[in-house]
Amino acid sequence: MTAPATHSAAPAARRLPLPAFVDGTLLTLIAAAVILWFAPSGMGRYGTYVLSLWLVMSVAVMGLNLTLGYAGLKSLAQAAFMGIGAYATALLTSKVGLNWYASFAISGLLTFAVGLVLGFPALRVKAHYLAFVTLAFSTLIWLVLRNEQWLTGGVFGLSNIPRPSFFGLKLDGALPFHRFVVVVTFLLAVVLWWMIRSPWGRAFTALRENPIRAASLGIDTRMYTLLAFAIGSAYAGFAGALYAPLVEFIDPSPFSLSQSFFLLLMVVAGGAGYLLGPFIGALLGVVLPEWLRFAGSLYLIIFAAIVMLLLIACPQGMSGLLERGWAKLTGKKEGAR
């Protein structure tokens, strides 16, 4: 599956007077963050909640985008990692009384470590075996979440998950917490943006495009693959850490294998390998069901069908479609894909 070059050559025509490290993607992120900061005015609690949920899911999809879109690995455990992050944060903040920031960090570190442990043996074999190992892991996590009632509350879950405060400022309300989510999501997106632009990103691309050639150039394919998987999983952990205080009550159901499939579909629908793709994919996965409320659970079928058609027509997802459209509009003639 091809994606655009991670480093865009500056077009000779239009060159804005900006410092070299700023590019279109970063500008879009900044602009979007500003818009989203003010967006909920007049939206009411539920609308604001949906926006926040969209952003939180985007974080999980961003991580999976790194794993799938850049390193080419099918991880079927993204929702499980999100669950680990969510339950870790929930337990640490509500039962242990630890502040959210430390819990957030621990959630990320924990999922990163688990990702390393899980990925290491699986990658010594064929890369696509990771799919089945993560499938097994997903099921295992779900079993633990459901059975170990003393820890996770079993099917009854954990409730009264507190929301963080910011230097004494309480963020319990929908709007303040939404703004908090915007900031955290923005920061996480910028970290990923930086990573993709760095030599790491170049190595990830090489890994996906041609692992044999990459290895012959000294790229430690095993290490980079593991890194992509572990970081991707850590992002799921971060997403979970945001999800728990957002919904204030968690049970195992949002972290099932089906949800992992769903996250994969979101990555693909948005456009795997595009930095902004996850936001589009999560939009389709989170906001679309809200619009399709009347259809009930049919929205899943509709979403899956959309993804399939998208894959046939344009495997680069919505981002690919937008890119094609933009190219047609501006009359640019890019090299053949």
Binding site: A5, H7, I212
Partner: protein
């Protein structure tokens, strides 16, 4: 004279088929060694065994006296061994410059510096140098996939040299390249051999190319070394002539 590469009694069998059947040779520093032989004689398999792409069934490979027999390709590359591929393997979506930076980045700094440091890993200047050396100047920003076959071959070669390797293995570098490009390629290879002092091992079918570029030639047939010597010696060897039925 320094022995950069030593291959001892290498065997590689696929099930019952012995692709490489006891090959031994040495390569001295700065040499350009050619490996020729009729189709199916085991040249590519030999290469892949040396480079860690395949595990030999028996035998050893030593780099500067150090046993590297079962090392993975990426580790070997970081020890200073690089290669070109018979079937073109540049990264089509990246620009020519990006391809070159990629080829060198793992040899600069550390994982941390590759994350926090500059985007080009400090290799822009070196990349420019390579682009100039291999005469790809006007194509620096072009997507590698859009280059002509011959240009991609030059890029492939340039990538092999980005990290200043000690030993370069070239797998059919002349394959599919037109005559003018061929002359350029040969001349560039000789120049970089003189300049960097790297040692070359070249697999080729194109007799003229091999004979005019290499200082020493090994002939393989049916997985074994048939003859060894200077191009002239090998050319005159009756066993070689028979194995090849002319060139």
């Amino acid at each position: 004279m320094n022995q950069v590469l030593e291959v001892s009694n290498l065997h590689k069998a696929f099930g019952g088929i012995k692709a490489v059947n006891g090959v031994s040779f040495k390569v001295n520093e700065g040499e350009i060694l050619g490996i020729i032989g009729p189709n199916g004689c085991g040249k590519s398999t030999l290469f892949n065994c040396i480079l860690g792409q395949l595990e030999p069934t028996e035998g050893a490979v030593k780099l500067d006296g150090r046993d590297v027999t079962n090392m993975r390709p990426s580790e070997l590359n970081r020890l200073g061994v690089s290669r070109t591929f018979q079937l073109l393997q540049v990264f089509p979506e990246l620009s020519v410059r990006e391809n070159l930076i990629l080829a060198g980045q793992e040899h600069e700094g550390s994982m941390l510096s590759r994350f926090f440091g500059p985007r080009d890993a400090g290799l822009s200047a070196k990349a420019e140098q390579m682009i100039g050396f291999f005469k790809l100047g006007h194509l620096a920003e072009a997507k590698a996939g859009g280059l002509s076959y011959g240009q991609q071959k030059l890029l492939d070669a340039a990538m092999a040299f980005m990290a200043g390797p000690r030993l370069v293995l070239l797998d059919e570098p002349a394959g599919g390249v037109n005559l003018t490009m061929l002359g350029d390629l040969k001349e560039r290879l000789r120049a970089i051999n003189a300049e960097q002092g790297a040692t070359f091992v070249v697999i080729e079918h194109n007799m003229d190319f091999v004979m005019s570029l290499c200082s020493r030639v090994i002939v393989l047939a049916e997985g074994k070394v048939l003859a060894e010597g200077t191009p002239a010696e090998v050319r005159a060897n009756p066993a070689v002539i028979e194995a090849y039925l002319g060139h």
